[in-house]
Structures are given as structure tokens and as C-alpha cells.
């Protein structure tokens, strides 16, 4: 008899419904919905997305205080890269003791954002910045070099409008 009643009255289903209902009402009818702690969805892209400080985004050549590229063409990053995404040609510049890259080509399509290149660089000349919106319309724009037409390796990508793109 008891078992029969149990089959007839689906209490456990009601409990589940109550739970989902509770969450729905809490979020739906709370004042200031977007800011409440229960509202777990970010309003991206209206609100730019925040990433953690160690986030690995697009590769970027860093510059020193005199706005000059730090890279000295030691080739360590090229050896470390598992996907051969980086290649560079060393050159010279007047009034600088160390070498300076004549061209520094980085193929974004091949990069897997592992960060090995940044770790291998003892001069802190490169960094993975905080950009993650990297899609472009043309495939050529994925090959990024110094002074590129669309995007340049020493500047953040112009595509990432909604992701934070400060230095580092």
C-alpha cells in the first residue's frame, strides 16, 4: 500500500522541481539582477571580459622605455616553440650593441598558446598578452610580422575589442 502510494505521488520529482524553481525565482526576481551574486553569467560582449593575470593570449614583442624592441635575436624562443610558429631574421641597427630583429614572423594559426617561448626568453622580450578574440577575415592577416598591414607583432591586435589588451 505504502509502495503504491509512493509510486502514485512523485515526491522526489517535486523536490527536484522545487530546487530548479528556487534558483529560477531567486535569480529572476532579485532586484538589480545583473549585479547579484547569483547571476553567474557575464554580460559579455557588453561588458569586456576579464581574464586572470597569467592568461596566455597572443604573442607580442615588448619594447623598453625608449620604445625600442628588446629582442636580441638569441633564437631561444624558436627552439622552444613546439609548433614552429616563430621565425626571425637578425639584423643590425646603428648605435645598438646587440642585434635587433629585422623581421620577426609569427604565425597565429599555428600557435597553441603554450607559453614555452615566453619562458625560454631570458631577456623578457616577448609576452603573451591578454587578448583572446583573435579571429580575422583573411588568412593572410594571421601571419603577423613587424610592421604588418593589419596587425603588427609589437602591438596588440586591433580585433580584440572586448578583451582587455593592456601591456603584458
Amino acid at each position: 500500500m505504502k509502495k503504491f502510494l509512493k509510486t502514485l505521488i512523485p515526491t522526489e520529482l517535486a523536490k527536484g522541481l522545487l530546487l530548479t524553481g528556487k534558483w529560477f525565482c531567486q535569480v529572476m526576481f532579485s532586484p538589480n539582477r545583473g549585479k547579484s551574486k547569483l547571476h553567474i553569467v557575464d554580460e559579455y560582449p557588453e561588458v569586456p571580459a576579464k581574464v586572470q593575470p597569467r592568461f596566455r593570449g597572443r604573442l607580442q614583442l615588448l619594447k623598453d622605455a625608449q620604445d625600442e624592441i628588446i629582442c636580441v635575436c638569441c633564437m631561444a624562443c624558436i627552439k622552444a616553440c613546439p609548433t614552429n610558429a616563430i621565425s626571425l631574421v637578425a639584423g643590425k641597427k646603428e648605435g645598438r650593441k646587440t642585434r635587433i630583429p629585422e623581421s620577426y614572423d609569427f604565425e597565429l594559426e599555428r600557435c597553441i598558446f603554450c607559453g614555452f617561448c615566453v619562458e625560454s626568453c631570458t631577456f623578457n622580450a616577448i609576452a603573451l598578452n591578454h587578448q583572446f578574440e583573435l579571429a580575422v577575415y583573411n588568412r593572410e592577416d594571421m601571419a603577423i610580422g613587424l610592421g604588418g598591414v593589419f596587425q603588427s607583432i609589437d602591438k596588440p591586435s586591433p580585433v580584440g575589442k572586448f578583451s582587455y589588451s593592456g601591456k603584458e
Binding site: 527536484g16 586572470q52 596566455r56
Partner: protein, 366 residues
């Protein structure tokens, strides 16, 4: 006039509930499954061969991409295998942090499993709740390793960086949410009659069959064999942790669900022990810049969320890359058991069997 025959139907490789590109060749007699034949290989990338052609330290990025729900476990197994090969001793702090990351990863993987498995069987809201909790754990990974999915968390000899600022608070916040979460999943599922009807007694796999087929992980433990590499052959800092191995004897889908839920609770317990007893010290051992190997071979098993993952490395003298690199992935051996599980089953149970194995085709095909 009327003739009956067994009809062959392909389930997959594009079926949404095969979790990737698993193809099952089903022989159907009406609703009854007469035969089942899993076909794999659609996601084969040759990870082993690539690792043989890259320097030792570069191999890690491919282990990330094998089982993409538990990248840290793969990284850990890979790192420990190579440390064994080179005879490197890892600092105690690094071992603690590794243990912690590995257990967080187990939570992550089980949450993914629970959400997708429940969704396959028909409980959609569980999926939304598990994803809510998983997000917090992924944030912890992002803060620690810099990436959410392809973590590249380990280095040969330790870890790249120490804990970031506010890490402990982040982990505890995540746990607060996961703890409530686990209770909610139990409310939604454990007594739910639809869930019970679809899981109790379905896709059984006895302990003997598990052992014969090399099935490991929660599936083996749900069949009553208390085999967990974390206890049997402790690695990282597991010998200093207190935890239990949950087992059941029913060996069906519902038992595996209970085992995994209990494992999630144990994982939280282990991470809290790590946070409390975290020793001071460096996180990286002193290792030479380029690793040159001697003649040798190692096999190192670790307990990934899905079962035993083992790395077998053969090296030659003065080599900068492995001579042979083999990965024993849990999913590859577990998926063989599908035909056994589906003896005299109905078509609807095929989805249950695939889901309960927790297959990730990235590691099966690798």
C-alpha cells in the same frame, strides 16, 4: 511472406551523445541490441609519434590535447614518467601543488561527466548546474596555469610558477559552490524515478570482466574492486594524504554514478588537506637546461579521473627526444567493454553505456 533480419545501424561518428567521434555499429532486432562493435580512430593525430620527434619538454602540449577534460592529470603522468627516466627528485611543495591541481582536475572531469551523462539520459538541469560549478574550477586553473582547458601545468622537475595571489580563497570559494552543487545533483538525481529506471541494472560489467578487459577507474571500483593507483602505487604527495576509495558492488550505471559522486567529495577533502599542510620551499628542482637521456625505459601509471593513464618512455644514449613514447590511456581500454555491457540491452541503453564509461575520444584515438 514476412521475413525478419538483424538490421545494422551506425550510431555516430556524428551522434551528439557519443561525446566526440565514436562510431558504434549496432545490430538491431527491433529495439533489442544483438551486436555492438565500436569503431575508433576518427580523431587520430599521432600524438605518440609527434612526441617522439619533439624534445622531451615539448611533449607536454600534446598530452593536454588528449583528454581535454582532464589535461592536468595527463600533464602529471607525463611529467612523472620523465622525472623517473631522468632520476629527478621533485621538491615537496611542488608535489603538494601537483596533488592539489590533480584533484581539482578530477572534480572538473567528473562534473563534465555528470552533466553530459545526465543530459544524455534526459535530465537537462543537472547539466546547467554542473557547468556553473565547473566554471569556478576552470577559473582556478586559469589563475594558476594561465589557461582553462589546455593547461600545460607541469614542468619536468616541478612547476613553472608558485601559487598566484588569492589562490586559497579562490579554491575555497569554488568548493563552497561545488559542495552545495553536489547536494543539488543528489536531490535532482539520486531518488529520481526516471534516473533510477534508466540506470539501475543497466550496462552491467562484472569485476571479472573488468579485470579481463583491463578496465580501470570508477568502473572497476563500482564493480567492487578497490584498486586505485593513488593508494596502490602512491605518486606525487598521495602517500601523505588521508582519503578513502569509494567502492560499490552492484557494477551498474547507478553504482558508477554513486562512486563518482563520492570521489568528488574525497577530492575536495584531499585539496583541503593540501591547502592546510602546504609546505614552504621551491617549486622547481634544479635541472640542466637541455635534458640528455641515457639508455633506459620507464613505465609510470597514474590515476586519471577515467582510470589508469600510463606513460611508457624508451630513451637512447644522448638523445634529446624519446626513442619510443607510448601512452596507455584509460578510455581506449574501457571502450572495448561496450559490447559486453550491451548484451541483451535496448537501443536506449546504448547511450547510457557510452555515457557511463565517460569516453573522451581525444584520448582514445590520440
Amino acid at each position: 511472406m514476412f521475413k525478419t533480419q538483424v538490421m545494422e545501424i551506425n550510431m555516430g561518428p556524428q551522434h551528439p551523445s557519443t561525446h566526440g567521434v565514436l562510431r558504434l555499429k549496432l545490430g538491431l532486432d527491433g529495439e533489442n541490441v544483438k551486436s555492438c562493435y565500436p569503431i575508433i580512430g576518427y580523431l587520430h593525430r599521432g600524438v605518440e609519434k609527434i612526441c617522439e620527434n619533439k624534445a622531451f619538454f615539448q611533449g607536454q602540449v600534446w598530452t593536454d590535447r588528449m583528454d581535454y577534460c582532464s589535461a592536468v592529470s595527463n600533464n602529471l603522468g607525463w611529467a612523472e614518467a620523465l622525472e623517473k627516466l631522468f632520476g629527478i627528485r621533485v621538491p615537496r611543495r611542488a608535489r603538494y601543488l601537483r596533488t592539489m591541481l590533480n584533484e581539482l582536475n578530477r572534480l572538473n572531469s567528473h562534473l563534465v561527466w555528470l552533466g553530459t551523462h545526465a543530459m544524455d539520459i534526459g535530465a537537462l538541469s543537472v547539466f546547467l548546474y554542473t557547468w556553473r560549478d565547473r566554471e569556478k574550477i576552470l577559473d582556478v586553473f586559469e589563475a594558476f596555469c594561465g589557461s582553462r582547458l589546455t593547461t600545460t601545468a607541469m614542468r619536468i622537475g616541478g612547476l613553472q610558477e608558485d601559487v598566484p595571489e588569492g589562490f586559497e580563497k579562490m579554491v575555497r570559494d569554488a568548493f563552497e559552490s561545488v559542495r552545495i552543487g553536489i547536494q543539488e545533483y543528489e536531490t535532482l538525481l539520486s531518488e529520481n524515478r526516471i534516473w533510477l529506471k534508466r540506470t539501475v541494472g543497466i550496462a552491467k560489467l562484472s569485476a571479472d570482466d573488468c579485470l579481463a578487459y583491463g578496465v580501470t577507474g570508477p568502473i572497476l571500483r563500482a564493480a567492487g574492486v578497490a584498486y586505485d593507483i593513488r593508494k596502490a602505487h602512491p605518486y606525487a604527495a598521495y602517500d601523505e594524504m588521508k582519503f578513502e576509495i569509494p567502492t560499490r558492488t552492484e557494477a551498474d550505471t547507478y553504482a558508477r554514478y554513486l562512486v563518482r559522486l563520492e570521489e568528488m567529495r574525497q577530492s575536495i577533502h584531499i585539496v583541503e588537506q593540501c591547502l592546510e599542510g602546504l609546505p614552504e620551499g621551491p617549486v622547481m628542482a634544479k635541472i640542466p637546461k637541455t635534458l640528455k637521456s641515457e639508455v633506459g625505459e620507464v613505465y609510470h601509471p597514474t590515476e586519471a579521473p577515467k582510470g589508469e593513464i600510463g606513460f611508457y618512455v624508451v630513451s637512447e644514449k644522448g638523445g634529446v627526444n624519446p626513442y619510443r613514447f607510448h601512452i596507455r590511456t584509460p578510455g581506449f581500454l574501457n571502450v572495448q567493454a561496450i559490447p559486453l555491457m550491451l548484451q541483451d540491452a535496448l537501443v536506449a541503453d546504448v547511450v547510457t553505456a557510452v555515457g557511463t564509461l565517460d569516453v573522451v575520444l581525444g584520448e582514445i584515438d590520440r
